[in-house]
């Protein structure tokens, strides 16, 4: 059987070549070559449009950031607003894994094989933090997920893509960016910025989803092999992204970037502001479902 796979990230990212392809390889090996993958990337379907064809069975399996399907359900963002999704054991023991499984199956005919944190977020600036270390009118590249925190810290959020951000930093129309910690050096931010803010905050997530009908049509031993590869992926991801974050920060520092710190009063606020922002965005789409997830998480 060949599973039609779609991924939201380009092939050259390490999280694809090492983690996701590793998952595919594990499945193929565990099933004695019975299951193989036909690989498609964002050039086949744009990242934000991949969820729908997965539910329709156009694709069988999807490697994505769950927030990319926020337009279909706020749960995609809600995943990053609760702590359980960052720890494979806690995800199971809290009952959240089961809840997510049931939720996605019932509503969309898909379910998550693996959910894992990819690391935290950081501010990167052209100028160091000063004064009471808020953003004080700085123009910060952000996206919908970070608009809340940028505004709350007194900055002016500017929404633009990653590629445009580099150019805007270079010409000075941006003062900084909110950026995933695992991709700062990868985008050569050290060429256009000088300060990496401490502390980092707020976890983001990736996930592998599968079409439920396809999964159910497979023999039991193949299903088990896929589920096991999914759990293994979650465990491997923890180490992988920890190393990735350390590497990226090291390369930034090696290229002359320095740390700049939020004050002790502001620092603890970052996480809270981030989570509040995520919750607000999550509630825009299917709010009742999101409320149910958040309540379940708060009970833990």
């Amino acid at each position: 059987e060949t599973l039609r796979s779609i991924r939201a990230f380009p092939q050259n990212l390490k999280q694809v070549s090492e983690l996701y392809y590793g998952f595919q390889k594990a499945v193929t090996e565990a099933t004695g070559g019975e299951i193989t993958f036909q690989d498609n990337g964002p050039e086949t379907v744009p990242p934000f449009e991949q969820f729908e064809p997965l539910t329709q069975g156009v694709f069988d399996i999807m490697y994505t950031a769950p927030s990319y399907h926020q337009a279909q359900t706020g749960i995609g963002v809600g995943i990053s607003a609760i702590p359980e999704t960052s720890d494979p054991e806690l995800l199971t023991s809290s009952g959240i894994r089961q809840w997510l499984n049931d939720y996605y199956r019932e509503n969309f005919g898909v379910f998550p094989l693996a959910i894992f944190a990819i690391g935290e977020t950081t501010f990167v600036f052209r100028e160091p933090l000063t004064g009471d270390t808020r953003l004080e009118g700085r123009k910060i590249r952000s996206n919908a997920s970070y608009e809340g925190i940028v505004r709350a810290l007194g900055g002016a959020p500017v929404s633009m893509g990653h590629a445009d951000a580099y150019a805007a930093l270079q010409r000075g129309t941006l003062d900084g960016v909110v950026w995933p910690e695992i991709a700062t050096a990868e985008f050569k931010l050290y060429e256009v910025t000088s300060f990496l803010a401490k502390p980092t905050f707020g976890k983001s997530h990736n996930a592998v989803f599968m079409n439920a009908a396809k999964f159910d049509s497979l023999p039991k031993d193949q299903q088990d092999a896929i589920m096991k590869a999914g759990l293994d992926l979650e465990h491997r991801a923890v180490e992988f992204f920890a190393k990735q974050a350390a590497d990226e920060t090291r390369i930034m520092l090696e290229n002359g970037v320095q740390f700049t710190e939020f004050s002790p009063e502001v620092a603890p606020e970052l996480d809270k502001l981030y989570v509040a922002g995520q919750r607000e965005i999550a509630m825009r789409s299917r709010p009742d479902d999101v409320k149910a997830l958040l309540e379940l998480s708060d009970k833990n």
Binding site: F48, Q70, A71, A144, E147, P157, S285
Partner: protein, 163 residues
């Protein structure tokens, strides 16, 4: 029949006026963005998304009138070499084929539109609206265009397509 045709013409023109309004709205919003960003140092952050939505309105609401005036671009070299009676017959066939294609595509769009309505799917921009609003506009424009292909053509205005 005459009444239906007149109604169709009236609705198509009204849609084109809405499309023209969308162009105007987009222009005003983009100027406002520049003023807000450089004049007030406080970017709006919704001009781009609104422009995108207006673009969709422009395209699908101008379509019925373009069709009514047979303003679609086609390679008509072979067609024009045909003798008059045959030319008219073939043109009619092509119009009916186009109408059929539009109807079929409209059915796909409507199918997705209904699904999006039931699932409450939003757009993927930062400033979100229900996605079925857009697919509904699409469906409407496509169906109206298909009907206009079946209806007799209107006189094209002086300035047709300039590209």
């Amino acid at each position: 029949m005459h009444f239906v045709n007149s109604a169709l013409r009236f609705i198509s023109k009204a849609c084109a006026i809405l499309a023209a309004t969308a162009v105007g709205i987009a222009a005003v919003i983009y100027v406002a963005e520049v003023v807000a960003r450089y004049g007030l140092n406080n970017p709006l952050n919704w001009s781009g998304d609104t422009g995108s939505y207006m673009l969709c309105v422009m395209v699908f609401l101008s379509l019925p009138l373009v069709t009514r005036q047979r303003g679609h671009i086609a390679v008509t070299m072979v067609l024009e070499a045909l003798p008059q009676p045959l030319f008219r017959k073939v043109t009619r066939v092509l119009e009916l084929v186009s109408a059929t294609v539009l109807m079929i595509v409209a059915a796909f769009v409507l199918d997705l539109c209904i699904r999006q309505y039931h699932q409450g799917v939003l757009t993927t921009m930062a400033n979100q609206i229900p996605r079925w609003w857009l697919t509904a506009v699409m469906t409407f424009g496509l169906v109206l265009s298909a009907l206009n292909f079946i209806a007799p053509a209107d006189e094209a205005p002086e300035d047709t397509v300039e590209f």
